[in-house]
């Protein structure tokens, strides 16, 4: 088990990076050159193959990672859990922004306007703002224990909005389509199904890759600060 952990730690990135790169570029190729154009929406519908995975495999997954990391940090005070939670929040913001950019581009074609205060859109925006607040808090308030605990509480409480986003459209209606939940039509051709699956797979790997890189970076930064302080006290380095 220790050996497996060591192998993943040493070679995980070397394996994950090329797989994610190939899959992402492969998905772009498949979606644009193999998947047929949707009859009513035309080429704009292809936003769907990136918009939905960015929301589900990016934003929701990043937020879930942030939730578990934060909860574990509050329970155990582990630096690693805190770094993972912070990385999860950063991924949630990055992919959430992708959703907020690609969604209105689709919306202007389908609805005639970029934005509407629809239940799902509004709750999604609220969630994104929660994770932006988390990232800003961590970036500008230093790495003290109180700040970490406050951010962890935000990471736990922020996750409460996620199921609300998902069920908002079925509960309160609105204009946002329900393509992935049975209604709203869309994936009539099997190649469309493969396209969306590829999208989900590549965004899941991208989320894993980004979380991995950023959490390792946060841990290394925290550890370097600690070791440099120790080295200064021992007289190994000079101020």
């Amino acid at each position: 088990m220790r050996l497996l952990g060591l192998l993943i730690r040493r070679f995980g990135f070397a394996a994950l990076w090329p797989i994610t790169t190939i899959l992402l570029i492969g998905t772009i190729h498949y979606v644009f050159y193999v998947v047929p154009e949707e009859a009513t929406m035309g080429i704009v519908q292809k936003i769907f193959y990136f918009h939905v995975p960015a929301a589900v495999s990016g934003m929701y997954l990043g937020a879930t990672i942030c939730f578990f990391g934060s909860a574990f940090y509050l329970a155990r005070g582990s630096v690693r859990a805190d770094a993972i939670a912070r990385a999860g929040a950063e991924v949630a913001v990055t992919t959430g922004m992708m959703v907020m950019i690609s969604g209105p581009l689709w919306g202007v074609k389908a609805w005639g306007h970029y934005w509407t205060w629809d239940a799902q859109l509004t709750t999604f925006l609220l969630s994104l703002l929660i994770y932006v607040a988390y990232v800003v808090l961590r970036a500008f308030t230093g790495g003290g224990e109180a700040e970490r605990k406050f951010a962890a509480a935000l990471g736990v409480l922020g996750a409460a909005n996620l199921p609300i986003i998902h069920f908002a459209v079925t509960k309160w209606g609105g204009t946002h389509p329900e393509v992935m939940r049975g209604k709203g039509g869309g994936l009539t051709d099997p190649r469309m199904g493969v396209g969306i699956l590829l999208g989900f797979l590549s965004f899941t790997l991208l989320t894993a890759l980004l979380t991995w890189v950023r959490s390792r970076q946060h841990m290394a930064e925290a550890l370097l600060e600690e070791v440099e302080h120790e080295a200064l006290e021992a007289g190994v380095i000079e101020d």
């Binding site: 990076w17 570029i25 772009i28 080429i43 980004l210 290394a220 370097l224 120790e230 080295a231 021992a234």
Partner: protein, 72 residues
């Protein structure tokens, strides 16, 4: 004197009046999109290398501290 032709639809891209379209615009758009993603992934690679450098510095400092304590 050279004249330029204008169409009623001025919102789209048009081929230069002196020559035809040499490459498909939609293909170029897709290639640009793929290139943006590649840039993002290369940036991730750069971040990873920086992290590894930081980890190497941590290891060097730890060894130096250990050696210093041993000497003392």
């Amino acid at each position: 004197m050279q004249t330029t032709t204008t169409t009623t639809d001025d919102n789209g891209f048009h081929a230069a009046p002196t020559g035809g379209e040499t490459q498909s615009g939609s293909h170029l758009l897709i290639e640009a999109y793929a290139a943006i993603w590649l840039c993002v992934l290369v940036f991730v690679l750069v971040l990873w290398r920086r992290t590894r450098e930081m980890e190497s510095r941590i290891a060097v400092l730890r060894d130096a501290i250990k050696a210093k304590k041993k000497d003392a």
